[in-house]
Amino acid sequence: MAPQLPAGTLRAAGSRVLRQAVRQHPFLVLLFTVVTGVGAVTTVLMPRVVAAAIDAATTGTNVTGALAQLAALLAIATAASALDDLIGSYYGTMLTAGFRHRLLGRALALGVPGLRRFPAGDLLSRITVNAGTPAMVLPMLLSATATLSVTLGAVVSLALIDLRLAVTLLLGVPPSVALLRLFVATAAQPFVRYQELLAAITTRLLDAHRGVRTIRAGGTAEREIGRILQPVPELHEVGRQGWVVQGRASWQLALLVPVVQLLVLSVGGYALVAGQITAGQLVAAASYAGLALGSMGLLDTLVSLLSCQVGAGRVGEVLEAVPAAPAPASPVAVPPGYGRLELRNISVRMDDRPVLDHLYLAVPAGRSVAIVGRSGTGKSVLVSLIGRLADPDEGQVLLDGVPVAEIEPAALRRTVTYAFERPALLGATIHDMIAYGRPAASRAEVEAAAAVAQADRFIRLLPKGYDTPLAQAPMSGGEMQRLGLARAILARARVIVLDDATSSLDTATEAKVARALARVLAGRTSVVVAHRAMTAARADLVAWLDGGRVRALAPHSALWSDPGYRAVFGAADDTGAGEIAVRDVSGMPAALQVGVRR
């Protein structure tokens, strides 16, 4: 999980984002405020004007004037409401879309190291959910302010009609608030259990989705349905309890509010008898009492405002994060050369543990190097430095004599490419996936790259061949790896890094891939993270990683006599391909595990 900022810092970041949100569209914000204000004023004025119109109608004096006033006020109220909706929507969507664009851009700029702080799922929820919170704050703030002023306005208006009316009303408010609080507290308990049971059903269904092949082969679909629905009776019971709690609070509230209103009316009636107020004023008093009592939801708005600050804070956290591998201030072009690599005095620490410790490694241009070492020795970390997926804490990586940190980032991407153990399925179709980095590549080029990766045959077996949408092409780990390889091959980069990129292939296929790769990569530098002895044997040189440094750099055959070197492969090869397949499948997205096709 991402290390979370302390709540205070998060709130502070939230406040900064919210201030930004208000400053971003000043004209809209101003208009929004004005319109909301006008709406609130009309709400407060309305009972007064209605009362005046009723009095005019009943007494027959100046009916037209009073009526014109009422009609105008109604028109203004409706117009304000319409503008409020529209401005709110335009302001909100502009703000939300803006934050989404910025969040995504920042996530891409933070790159691979960023994922350590903000894991993918977390980032996604920030983009889809939290990005919407800053837009919610202004309307909420305005409506809370409006409600508050309406309440105040209503109480003041009551007081202006007759002070006793306002006092009567205020006496009724505290019990109502207390009741609401009590309700919130008691309603929470069945609700939590309810959510748990609902989640249990979802999880059971997800489980069954993963076991589809077993269920089909076992013919146990009906029993599965029964098993998934097992929590339903308890869900039903807990759901009922929730209604009972809610029912109790509701009838008490249903009684309290009108009783307060009746009390106000009685006091008003007494005043009317005493000739202190008019009939119209009594009607107005009833309305004002209703208005004031209707604002008890304000408490919940305040609670939501606090949670908005946290949501906005989650947006701010990402926007304010600093890239761990920043673009160079004055970038240089890629120097001419054939891919000579030099790693000088490299140190990388992770979680305060040194992974690479003052490491030196030089890879001659146009050669293949296998990186070998026990698991956890930092092989992947080492190769990630070459294409600046991350920067070392200390030391320098040089490509054909120039530090990679100074090379223009886009050019560096074209010069160093990668294939991974678990390639991400990007793009719409198989073709699109292979050509993701080079969208202009022709079908022939894509097919040629796929052929080298031994992917051409299985792609042709798919329903629509290269045009099969990725979502409709369930693939095994080995097939995905071959697509990833094809993508890297198509990039035609000077340096290609294969980070465990053939681990899920059976050895026969891997051998074919290796032979074909050797042909197309002739003259280019390749760096291969290897777990199998055979893979290491194929490379020109092996860099044996141990204790954060390169223990030896020599051909596989020269190292094989060292029992320590052989032990590096021991663990992997004793269990054969199985151990490798464990790594492969466990990382497959669930969607692809369902229909693994072979």
């Binding site: 109604l74 995504l104 891409l108 013919g219 269990t575």
Partner: protein
């Protein structure tokens, strides 16, 4: 648009609970009593009480109103249990429908999205429950209030009531038309919102690959399009939503203006008294206006949401017409399997994955299937279990075409264990007796001992230990052992292991395979390691063009591919002791 499909879905699920709905309506009517008479009593209190200088009549009227509020509160209290009786079963039956449909769809191989649609569907069911209850609670309340206010008006003055009712009906008709537009636009908002997630998630999850491809701009542009489209849809919805305001004016505010505007004429003609005009204005302004406002405002947004969610759910629950019951009723006497020229492809355009395969698997044979990845080994397993049907050729079991074998018989006779073991939330016992519900403790012990599950069982705490959802407490290997023991315990006479032991270490794999080889019946092992082939009676080498069947020794001589596979799997250039070939083979 799926408005009518959604409405049908809702109707069909609410129909069994009509009684609850009637009771709910009845108690809601009681709840509406104070609204019904409040205007009358207030008018009475003002007209005949306070204005007539008879305060006792005034206070008496208000006290009566207070008493009626108590009756209304009773209605509220009694309405809730019936609300629960309507809404809770609705949720139950919708959840059942969604789960059933979703699982069936997955079983037919239609749901490629895997789990994501699943959780969405259950969330949507919950949304329907919440929306339905607010609709029944709130909009119902306002509907009752509206009717009650109109009724009160009618008692006060039929004239005002008639004019008002006409305007309200007109407004509601206009509103009904508006709801259709709103549902369509809101549906677009929801769908585009989902698309933001759908386009952003591969980019964020594959961030490393995006960076490596130097495709940041492209990725940002593609997701950005979805973001902008959604914002556009939101605005289109907001524009339509504004249209409710004139409708509200028509139903809620015109009647008041009309009454007050016509008052001089009404008073002069003696058609209405001052008290009636004041009382009518109270009804219209403090009862009807808020009721209409809420009916159209809150009701509109609830109906819109409900329309969209129900539409989506009706898509999930849509069942294809059931396939006609075929002639699949035969129960073949033996388990000899014959394939003659069997061909299978994923679609008409695609190259066949299995082409013209001819093969005999007599009952009791221990067969291993080997070949490079992607050559169709799992497809063969699917064909043997009728999870896939050949386009051409003949596949028989006990001399009977597999197509005509009774489904239940087939499922009992043939067992498949896929690579991804299925372990579900429940006890260890439930997981093990999945295919043999009446197994005894002794049977369980035997199966567990045979496949080597004892240690795991002990670690978990015996047969009654609970396995949590997702089976997170188990390693991949342990999950495989559980599904192995499950099938070992079953009555299946043909067992197919599709790389079912790939997460076990070679020793454990050998033990499990040995157990199945000694068990009665046929064993087909789709091999993950070459040692599986060495243990088998016969080996089928698949390489697409020319499958070969023979013993391990024969194939070493006859099949270059097999020799290569064995060579490679033994680790070329690596001393033989490290290859896993050293595992004792055929130690029977």
């Amino acid at each position: 648009m799926n408005l009518s499909a959604g409405a049908r879905l809702l109707r069909s699920h609410l129909r069994p609970h009509r009684r609850a709905l009637w009771w709910l309506a009845a108690w809601s009517a009681v709840e509406g009593v104070p609204a019904f008479v409040s205007g009358l009593l207030v008018a009475n209190a003002i007209d005949h009480g306070f204005l007539a200088r008879r305060p006792l009549v005034g206070f008496g009227s208000l006290a009566a109103l207070g008493a009626l509020y108590a009756v209304g509160a009773l209605g509220t209290r009694r309405a809730f249990p019936w609300l629960a009786s309507a809404v809770e079963p609705l949720r139950d039956s919708l959840v059942t429908a969604v789960v059933t449909a979703s699982l069936r769809r997955a079983l037919r191989g239609e749901d490629r999205a895997g789990g994501s649609s699943v959780s969405q569907a259950t969330v949507q069911v919950e949304t329907v429950r919440i929306l339905m209850s607010s609709l029944l609670r709130t909009a119902r309340q306002f509907l009752v209030t509206t009717v009650a206010a109109l009724g009160g008006l009618f008692v006060l003055s039929p004239l005002i009531a008639l004019v008002t009712t006409g305007l309200v009906v007109l407004a509601l008709l206009a509103f009904a038309g508006l709801v259709r537009v709103l549902v369509a636009r809101y549906r677009a908002v929801v769908l585009l919102g989902e698309r933001i997630g759908a386009t952003a998630s591969p980019v964020v999850e594959g961030l490393r690959d995006v960076v490596v491809c130097g495709a940041e701009t492209r990725a940002a542009r593609e997701v950005g399009r979805a973001i902008d489209d959604e914002a556009q849809a939101q605005r289109a919805y907001a524009r339509a939503w504004v249209l409710r305001l004139p409708v509200m004016m028509l139903g809620a505010q015109f009647p008041l203006l009309a009454l007050l505007g016509l008052s001089p004429w009404l008073l002069a003609g003696g058609r209405l008294t001052v008290g009636q005009i004041a009382g009518g204005a109270v009804y219209l302004f403090s009862r009807l206006e808020p009721a209409i406002r809420m009916l159209i405002g809150a009701g509109g947004s609830i109906l819109t949401n409900l329309g969209v969610v129900l539409g989506r759910l009706s898509e999930v629950c849509a069942e294809p017409p059931p396939s006609a019951p075929g002639a699949a009723v035969l129960r073949p006497p033996t388990c000899d399997v014959r394939l003659r020229g069997v061909t299978f492809a994923y679609s008409a355009h695609a190259e066949p994955v299995v082409r013209d395969l001819t093969l005999d698997i007599p009952e009791g044979l221990h067969l291993a299937v080997v070949g490079p990845s992607g050559v169709g080994k799992s497809t063969l397993a699917n064909l043997l279990t009728r999870l896939a049907r050949p386009q051409r050729g003949e596949l028989t079991i006990g001399g009977v075409s597999l197509e005509t074998v009774d489904e239940e018989h087939l499922r009992r006779t043939v067992a498949l264990i896929p690579q991804e073991a299925y372990v579900f939330a429940g006890t260890v016992r439930e997981n093990l007796t999945y295919l043999q519900p009446h197994a005894t403790r002794a049977d369980l012990d035997r199966a567990v001992a045979a496949v080597g599950l004892e240690e795991t069982c002990a670690r978990l705490g015996g047969y009654d230990a609970e396995i949590p959802p997702g089976g997170e407490t188990l390693s991949s290997g342990e999950r495989q052992l559980i599904s192995l023991a499950r099938v070992f315990l079953s009555a299946a006479r043909i067992v197919i292991l599709d790389e079912a032991t790939c997460y076990l270490d070679p020793m454990a794999e050998a033990r499990a395979e040995q157990a199945f080889a000694e068990r009665v019946g046929t064993l087909v092992v789709i091999a993950h390691r070459i040692s599986s082939a060495v243990r088998a009676d016969r080996v089928l080498v698949m390489d697409g063009a020319d499958p070969l069947l023979g013993t391990h020794e024969e194939l070493l001589r006859r099949s270059p591919l097999y020799a290569e596979l064995v060579g490679h799997w033994s680790g070329l250039g690596v001393p033989a002791r490290e290859t896993g070939l050293g595992v004792p083979a055929r130690s029977r």
